[in-house]
C-alpha cells in the first residue's frame, strides 16, 4: 500500500503511467473531504492531487480563473472575494454532514460535480468549467476546452470530468468561469406552508420576473422556529433586491417574512451544506427530480425527514440506516417522475451493498462503460467508486 503525493503534473503523469503499466489501481483523491461519497471499494494505493496547488491565472476582467487541482477552495474563494467575484455554482462543503475536516480542493469540487442552491438558476459545476488538463488512465496528459466562455472546438470533455469522481482522468489543472458576486442578499419566507403548497409557491415565484437565485422548502423540524417554511432568495444591489422583494410580495402575499443579508447567508449555507440533517442519525439521500415532484419523494418513505432545494427539484432525505436504506422505495418513486437518487451518506458497509449512484440499465450501462474505457481502458482510476464492475 502506497500513498502518492505528486508535487507537479509530470510526477502525477508518471505515477499513473506506472500504475497502468502494472495494472495496479489507484484511489484518486484531492484532500479527501468527500471520500465517503460513492461506493466502498478497496484500493490499496492512494493518489492525491493535494500538493499540486496554486492559482495559475486569474483575470477578473476576463471572468476567468485557472488553478491547479489541489488548490484549496477557500484560497480560491478568498482571491475571488477580493475582486468582488465568486464561483456562481456555490460549491458546498459537506464537512458536517460527512464528518470530515480540513480544506476542500477544487479538484474534488469538480470531480464530485456537486453544486449549491444557486445551481437552479446559475448552473452547476459543469456549467462553469471552461477547460482542464488531466492525466487519463493511460498515463497521458490530456487537455480539452480553453479559457474563453464561448468555445465549441472539439468535444466538451470538461463536462464529462465534472461529476466523474476521478474515474476517467486525474485532474491537474482546471479553468473556471467566475462571475461578479452580488452585493446584497435577502430572503422572503412563507411560513406554515406544507411541502406541496410550498413548492407551488416557489414555482410561481420562479416563473415570475423576480430573478430568484434560491428556492427551498423546510419542514417544521428543520426550520428555525418550528414552523415549516418556503424561502426565496433574491440577490443583487440593495436597491434591486428591495424592489424585487416588494414586487414578489405584492404578487405572492404568502411571502410575508423577510431574512436580512446575514440571516440569508446563514440559511442558504445551511441548505446547501445540508446542515439540518447533519447531526441526525441515519442515511442521507440526494435526489434530483422535476421540481413539482419533490413532495412526492418526501412522502415516499414513511417517517423519513427531508427538505427541498432547487424549487423542489433537489430532495435531501434522511432515512433509518437499516435494510436497504429505503433504496428500492426511493428509486421506485423516482422512476415514476424521472430523476436520479444517490445514497449520499451511509456507512461503508451500506455503500458496499446498496448501489450508491442511480443504477444504469441496458444500452446506457454499456455506453457508460465504453466511455469509462475510452479514458481508462485498464480500470486503474477509482475502479468501483461509481459502479461495481468498472
Amino acid at each position: 500500500m502506497a500513498r502518492f503525493l505528486p508535487q507537479c503534473v509530470a510526477e502525477l503523469a508518471e505515477i499513473v503511467a506506472a500504475a497502468a503499466d502494472e495494472q495496479s489501481p489507484l484511489a484518486v483523491c484531492g484532500s479527501e473531504t468527500k471520500r465517503n461519497i460513492g461506493r466502498t471499494c478497496a484500493i490499496a494505493d492512494v493518489l492525491s492531487t493535494a500538493a499540486i496547488r496554486g492559482i495559475k491565472l486569474y483575470e477578473p476582467e476576463e471572468l476567468v480563473l485557472t488553478v491547479y487541482s489541489g488548490t484549496p477552495l477557500g484560497e480560491i474563494e478568498a482571491a475571488l472575494a477580493q475582486r468582488d467575484q465568486h464561483l456562481a455554482f456555490e460549491p458546498p462543503r459537506f464537512h458536517r454532514l460527512l464528518g470530515t475536516e480540513g480544506p476542500t480542493s477544487i479538484g474534488g469540487v469538480v470531480a464530485t460535480g456537486l453544486s449549491g442552491p444557486r445551481r437552479m438558476t446559475a448552473g452547476a459545476v459543469r456549467d462553469h468549467v471552461l477547460g482542464f488538463q488531466a492525466v487519463n488512465g493511460r498515463g497521458e496528459l490530456i487537455k480539452a476546452g480553453g479559457r474563453v466562455v464561448k468555445n465549441v472546438t472539439g468535444y466538451d470533455l470538461s463536462k464529462l470530468m465534472a461529476g466523474s469522481f476521478g474515474t476517467l482522468a486525474v485532474l491537474s489543472e482546471i479553468t473556471l468561469k467566475v462571475l461578479p458576486r452580488p452585493a446584497r442578499v435577502q430572503t422572503l419566507v412563507a411560513q406554515g406552508v406544507g411541502a406541496r403548497e410550498g413548492v407551488s409557491l416557489l414555482s410561481r415565484a420562479l416563473g415570475g420576473p423576480f430573478v430568484a437565485s434560491g428556492a427551498a422548502w423546510l419542514p417544521p423540524q428543520l426550520a428555525g422556529n418550528g414552523d415549516s417554511l418556503a424561502a426565496i432568495r433574491l440577490e443583487g444591489t440593495a436597491e434591486s433586491v428591495a424592489a424585487r422583494g416588494l414586487a414578489l410580495r405584492t404578487a405572492l402575499s404568502a411571502f410575508s417574512g423577510t431574512l436580512d443579508h446575514d440571516e440569508s447567508c446563514a440559511l442558504w449555507q445551511s441548505v446547501g451544506e445540508v446542515e439540518g440533517l447533519a447531526d441526525m442519525a441515519g442515511a442521507v439521500w440526494r435526489i434530483s427530480v422535476p421540481p413539482m415532484s419533490g413532495p412526492d419523494i418526501l412522502e415516499a418513505v414513511p417517517g423519513a425527514t427531508g427538505f427541498l432545494d432547487w424549487g423542489g427539484g433537489l430532495v435531501w432525505l434522511l432515512v433509518p440506516e437499516t435494510g436497504d436504506c429505503a433504496a428500492e422505495r426511493i428509486r421506485a418513486a423516482v422512476a415514476k417522475v424521472g430523476g436520479h437518487a444517490t445514497l449520499f451518506r451511509a456507512s461503508a458497509e451500506m455503500r458496499r451493498t446498496i448501489p450508491v449512484f442511480q443504477p444504469l440499465e441496458g444500452p446506457l450501462a454499456a455506453l457508460t462503460r465504453r466511455v469509462k474505457e475510452s479514458f481508462d481502458p485498464l480500470h486503474i482510476l477509482n475502479p468501483g467508486r461509481m459502479y461495481p464492475d468498472f
Partner: protein
C-alpha cells in the same frame, strides 16, 4: 463532381439501399432522385458541395432507429441534418453515405410551465420553442441569428449560442435531457425534466458533438420567464481600442449585460445603408449593450455604463426609450450579415473567440493582414464574450480569390489561438476547420477525443468526415501499450 455522381457506391447499391429504407419509412421519405437531392448538396457552408447517396426523412424515433440499425449492419455512413444552416459544414453530405434529415420530427411534445421545461422533437425550430411558450410569458434563451430556420436538434449538435448567451449561456446550459439513437439503433435517454443526469454527464458531451456521437430524437429544454424589462444602449467610439476598453470595463465593473455586440466602421456603414437603423456613421466602432431584468437594475447599470463609456471617450451614447427604438438599434446588427453581402459578391464568415482584452490588438492585426492579402474584412461580433465574426469579402468568380479568402480565414484563426483563444466559438469545427484542430490540440488530446467517438460509434459511421483531421480506426486507438519495468516510481514523494 456533378449532381448524382456517386463515388465508391455503385448505382445498384444505391437502389438496394433505397429499397431497404423504403421498406421502413414512408414512400416519399426516401429521396434518391438526383434533382430532388440537390437541396442536400450543401448546408450554409456553401463553398463545398456534395450530394449524398440518398436522403432519408424518418418521422419517429422508431424510424430513426430502424434506419441507423440498417446502416450499421451494412456499414453505411450517415450524416444527420436539421435545417441545414450549419456554417461549418456540419451536415455536409457524403457520396457514399446517406443524409438523415430530421425535419419531419417537428412537434412540441410537452410544455410544463410549473417545472419550467418543454419537450420537443429535434426538427422544431429554435424560435418555434419560444413562440410555443410565449403566451405564458416564457421563452427559450439561446438565440442564434438563424433562429427562425435552425432546429433545436442542430442547436444541440453545434452547441449554438447567440446574442444573449453572455448572460444566459449556450445551448449546453439550457438543455435538460435528450433521447438519443446510437449508430447501432439503440435508444438511450439521458437527463430529463430534472437537473443533472445521474452518472457521467453524457448530456454535456453530446451537446456540441456535431452529430458524431448519436442522433437526437427528443430534447428537453429549460424555459425561462421573460424578463420584465429590456433596454438597449447604442454607444459610438472614435477608435476600436476605446470600444474594447469599454467592453472590458463594463465586465470589470461587475455588470453582465444580456448582450454586448460590436460592429466596426465598415459594418456600421453597410448596416446603416441597408436598414437605416439610425447609426452614427462617423464612429470607428459601435457597441450595442442590452440589459434586461427589473427596472431598478437596468437604471442603475446603465448609469454606470454611461460613465464608463464617457471615460472610454465615447462620442455618442443613446438609450432606447421604448421597444420600437430598441428593435431599431438591433435592426442594423441583425441585418449586418446580409448588409455585408451587398458589399461584395461573396463573404466568408469566421468564428474565433479570444480573451476580451486582446480585442483591439487582434482587430488591428486582422486589419494588417487584410491590407497584405488585398481582401477587405468587416467585423461584427459578440464583444461581451470575445467571439469574433470577421467577414472576409471576396469574389468566388475571380480565379484564386476563394483560396485566398480561405487562407486569410485560417490566418485569423491562428491568430485567435495564438492570443489564448479558440478556433470556433459557436459555429462548430465541421469540415471547415477540422484540419486546423492541431493548432489547439496535440495528437494525444485528439486521440482521447477520438476514443470517445469510438465509445459511441465504433465503426466511425456517423458523420465521419467532420471535426477530426485524421480519424483513426478504433482498433488502433484502443491498443494499450504496456512497458513492463520501464517506469519506476519508488523515489516519488509519498505521505
Amino acid at each position: 463532381m456533378g449532381i448524382g455522381t456517386v463515388e465508391g457506391f455503385a448505382t445498384a447499391d444505391r437502389a438496394q439501399v433505397a429499397a431497404a429504407l423504403r421498406s421502413m419509412l414512408a414512400q416519399d421519405a426516401v429521396i434518391d432522385d438526383p434533382i430532388a437531392l440537390a437541396p442536400y448538396e450543401a448546408d450554409a457552408f456553401t463553398t463545398r458541395r456534395q450530394a449524398p447517396m440518398l436522403a432519408a426523412l424518418p418521422a419517429s424515433t422508431a424510424e430513426v432507429s430502424a434506419v441507423l440499425k440498417y446502416c450499421h449492419e451494412h456499414a453505411i455512413k450517415v450524416v444527420p441534418r436539421g435545417a441545414g444552416t450549419s456554417l461549418s459544414g456540419g451536415s455536409h453530405g457524403l457520396a457514399d453515405g446517406i443524409t438523415l434529415g430530421l425535419a419531419k420530427l417537428n412537434r412540441v411534445l410537452k410544455i410544463d410551465y410549473e417545472n419550467r421545461c418543454a419537450v420537443v422533437q429535434p426538427g422544431v425550430t429554435n424560435l418555434g420553442i419560444s413562440n410555443a411558450v410565449d403566451g405564458a410569458g416564457f421563452y427559450y434563451a439561446p438565440d442564434p441569428s438563424s433562429q427562425l430556420a435552425c432546429t433545436i436538434g442542430g442547436n444541440v449538435a453545434e452547441n449554438s449560442g447567440g446574442v444573449h448567451c453572455l448572460k444566459y449561456g449556450l445551448t449546453t446550459n439550457n438543455i435538460l435531457g435528450l433521447e438519443l439513437v446510437l449508430m447501432t439503433g439503440e435508444v438511450v435517454r439521458i437527463g430529463g425534466p430534472h437537473l443533472d443526469s445521474g452518472g457521467y454527464d453524457l448530456l454535456g458531451v453530446l451537446v456540441g458533438s456535431e452529430g458524431l456521437l448519436g442522433v437526437v430524437t427528443e430534447v428537453t429544454v429549460r424555459i425561462l420567464p421573460k424578463p420584465p424589462h429590456v433596454r438597449a444602449m447604442l454607444i459610438g467610439f472614435p477608435t476600436i481600442e476605446d470600444a474594447g476598453d469599454c467592453v472590458a470595463s463594463i465586465i470589470g465593473a461587475g455588470i453582465i449585460p444580456a448582450g454586448m455586440e460590436m460592429m466596426d466602421q465598415a459594418a456600421v456603414r453597410a448596416a446603416e445603408n441597408f436598414v437605416k437603423a439610425g447609426y452614427p456613421l462617423d464612429v470607428a466602432a459601435l457597441l450595442i449593450v442590452e440589459l434586461d431584468g427589473p427596472i431598478a437594475d437596468i437604471d442603475q447599470c446603465f448609469a454606470t455604463i454611461r460613465a464608463i463609456a464617457e471615460s472610454a471617450h465615447a462620442v455618442s451614447c443613446l438609450e432606447s426609450r421604448d421597444d420600437n427604438e430598441r428593435m431599431k438599434f438591433w435592426a442594423g446588427r441583425k441585418a449586418a450579415f446580409p448588409a455585408v453581402a451587398s458589399l461584395a459578391p461573396d463573404y466568408y464568415c469566421m468564428d474565433g473567440t479570444i480573451p476580451r482584452h486582446r480585442l483591439a490588438d487582434v482587430l488591428r492585426r486582422i486589419e494588417e493582414m487584410s491590407a497584405r492579402c488585398g481582401l477587405a474584412v468587416v467585423n461584427v461580433f459578440h464583444a461581451g464574450d470575445g467571439n469574433l465574426h470577421p467577414l472576409i469579402l471576396f469574389d468566388a468568380n475571380k480565379t484564386g480569390e476563394l483560396a485566398k479568402a480561405e487562407k486569410f480565414g485560417e490566418d485569423i484563426l491562428r491568430l485567435c489561438v495564438d492570443v489564448g483563444g479558440v478556433l470556433t466559438g459557436e459555429h462548430g469545427v465541421g469540415v471547415e476547420k477540422r484540419d486546423l484542430m492541431p493548432l489547439m490540440f496535440n495528437q494525444v488530446d485528439l486521440d482521447q477525443q477520438m476514443r470517445l467517438k469510438c465509445a459511441f460509434d465504433a465503426q466511425h459511421l456517423l458523420n465521419p468526415d467532420k471535426v477530426f483531421p485524421n480519424l483513426k480506426r478504433c482498433a488502433e486507438l484502443g491498443r494499450v501499450h504496456i512497458h513492463h519495468g520501464k517506469m519506476r516510481f519508488a523515489d516519488l514523494p509519498r505521505f
